[in-house]
Amino acid sequence: MAEFDVVTPSVKVADGTLPTATGKALSVVALRKTYGDVVAVDEASMEIAAGEFVTFLGASGSGKTTTLMMIAGFCEPDSGTITVGGRDMTRLAPQKRGLGFVFQQYLLFPHMTVSENVAFPLTLRGVPKDEIRRRVGETLEIAGLSGFGGRKPRELSGGQQQRVALCRALVYRPPVILMDEPLGALDKKLRDQLQVEIKAIQQELGLTVIYVTHDQEEALVLSDRIAVMRNGLIEQFDTPRELFERPRTPFVADFLGAANFLSGHVEKHTDEHTLVRLDETGGLLKARRHELATGTQIKAAVQPGRLRAGAPGDGFCTGTVETATYVGTLVRAGVRVGSGDVLLRLEVPAGRGPVAGERVGVTADPEDVNLFADERER
């Protein structure tokens, strides 16, 4: 069984016979959905370009799945509009939208073979038999499933079933393919492998994909852009790099980067930098220039991987290494600073890792420091 799971996707370039990109921009404007008093999705708006891989990332209850269901047509928005390729679909039934959908539970038709499953959407569209056979064959080949056409879904492993579901969603070249945590039911190793395959197929065929997940790593691996959602709001919709390096809210900094937070206030600005006086340690932290008024109470966020341990006295604060855990290529260190209330988390290359009990100065590149006006003051 295991050997079937190790199938590398063919990465040959589309030669015209393969379904090529037909993606048209999808736009969502001020989409809103409430269940009783609970606002599931609050005024979500976004533009998605053709050929783009977009992920809705958030914890459960963040509104990511509801948004996807509204785009699919399984759930009707209270207000707002959804347009695909310039066509308003807000109130259209799901079967009239012509979108592709991949479900977490695969939902293959158990009474049909793999081929029949993949052929199903084509038969609905009145595609001639020869063409159906050709396209089903091609699509199965892309997903590394040639030779599985005659099998029933229950004879396949979870990963293979989800590949079939993917084939079924892309065989009719929908303008947008929606995926609702498609890898959620698979184990880690298979998930990693399928992520690579999905990304390869998406790029090869130029598919426009909207993907829902709660897994940050998965979102980073797959996406061109990620919409980080919380409590029905899109916190930030950006490229993975922007989200990582320029989070716009403390939530994004925490959710994606697991950032260290330090409170303080803006002391002064230079041409390129903003200097922050930290509350707990009294140290001066240099950040890249932020447009914040002098004296503003702020929170500074720095990711563990962007902090470095130097000689005592270096950097913005000095503390004692409390824990140093070796995790392969990295050492995760906890450094107790200030009066002892703050534990900074550091991730440093294993070779130069600090040891427990050592006194170190913690430094950060001003470019890696993000400042947020403290919400408590607002």
């Binding site: 699919a72 047509g73 399984f74 039934a93 799901p94 079967q95 009239k96 012509g98 979108l99 592709g100 959908f101 479900f103 539970q105 939902l107 038709f109 158990p110 009474h111 073979t113 081929s115 029949e116 199903f120 959407p121 609905l124 569209r125 056409g149 005659g150 079924r168 969603a169 009719y172």
Partner: protein, 295 residues
């Protein structure tokens, strides 16, 4: 070598304590089945093959399959088929409606379907007779609505028998179909819709194939149960609707003709087995056709 293992195996089997305990547990059931199931069946079979002088004969079967007896058999098959078909249709509509209800309402609806079944079939049959008579509720209502041709003959003919037996079979078909329909993942239908399938297509190409096994077993069950049904056909039918169970009853109680009754009983049993075999055959044929068309 073979002989050695052959003798060694049973000893080894019995040597296991678990096996001995298992046999002990199974013994009451085995005895029960032997006494009350296997013995009567072979007794009946023997009776149906026995001549008056004790020699073996097939002439009870010849009797059972000729003349009036044959036409009774054919009537039985026809009425059973009609009943199976009608209870399938009504059962499907009813079970489908119930399976779409919220759990609480579905539970109540199932209760309404099943509870009448706790009432004696005799009482229910008389209930139908009262409803369907020339001066019964149905005809009175139709007359009140000035429907031409009233009163309709709804009793003591085949229509009456089929109405009666169908109502008796309905709880079985609804229960069976409801179970199968609840087992159908509704999200599969949503998946089909997401690919562009309309309601009719979803019903025909996804829903129906998924509940087909349930339809086959429900249809077969009501057919088999109808084959041997006695009270309702006897009370709601006329002389032309005599079914095989009535005939067997007459032979035993009125003519003291046990051998002929036994032969008809065996025929009934064989018909039932044939029905089971047919469904099995059809389903496996369908599966192999599928396999061939796929490859």
């Amino acid at each position: 070598m073979a002989a050695l293992t052959a003798t060694a195996r049973p000893r080894k089997l019995l040597a296991s304590r678990r096996t001995r305990v298992g046999i002990l547990y199974a013994l009451p059931v085995v005895v029960y089945l032997l006494v009350l199931f296997v013995y009567p069946i072979f007794g009946t079979l023997f009776l149906s093959l026995k001549n008056a002088d004790g020699s073996l004969t097939l002439h009870w079967y010849v009797d059972a399959l000729t003349g009036v007896n044959l036409s009774v058999l054919i009537t039985t098959l026809r009425i059973s088929a009609e009943t199976a078909l009608l209870s399938l249709v009504f059962g499907f509509v009813l079970a489908n409606a119930i399976s779409r209800l919220k759990p609480l309402w579905a539970g109540l609806a199932m209760l309404v379907v099943v509870v009448p079944h706790f009432i004696s079939a005799l009482v229910r049959t008389y209930g139908w007779i009262i409803l369907l008579g020339d001066k019964g509720l149905v005809n009175e209502t139709l007359a009140g609505l000035s429907v031409p041709g009233t009163p309709y003959r709804l009793l003591y003919n085949e229509l009456g028998v089929v109405i009666g037996t169908t109502s008796m079979m309905l709880p079985y078909t609804v229960l069976l179909l409801y179970g199968v329909m609840r087992g159908v993942d509704r999200r599969l239908l949503a998946a089909a819709a997401s690919m562009g399938a309309g309601r009719v297509t979803i019903f025909r190409r996804v829903y129906l194939p998924l509940v087909a096994p349930g339809l086959a077993s429900a249809g077969l069950l009501s057919f088999i149960l109808s084959l041997g049904y006695y009270i309702t056909p006897a009370l709601m039918g006329g002389p032309n609707q005599t079914m095989i169970a009535t005939l067997i009853n007459q032979q035993v109680t009125k003519e003291n003709q046990w051998n002929g009754a036994a032969a008809q009983g065996v025929i009934l049993l064989l018909l039932t087995l044939a029905g089971l075999l047919l469904v099995k055959l059809v389903s496996s044929l369908g599966a192999s056709r599928k396999k061939r068309s796929a490859s």
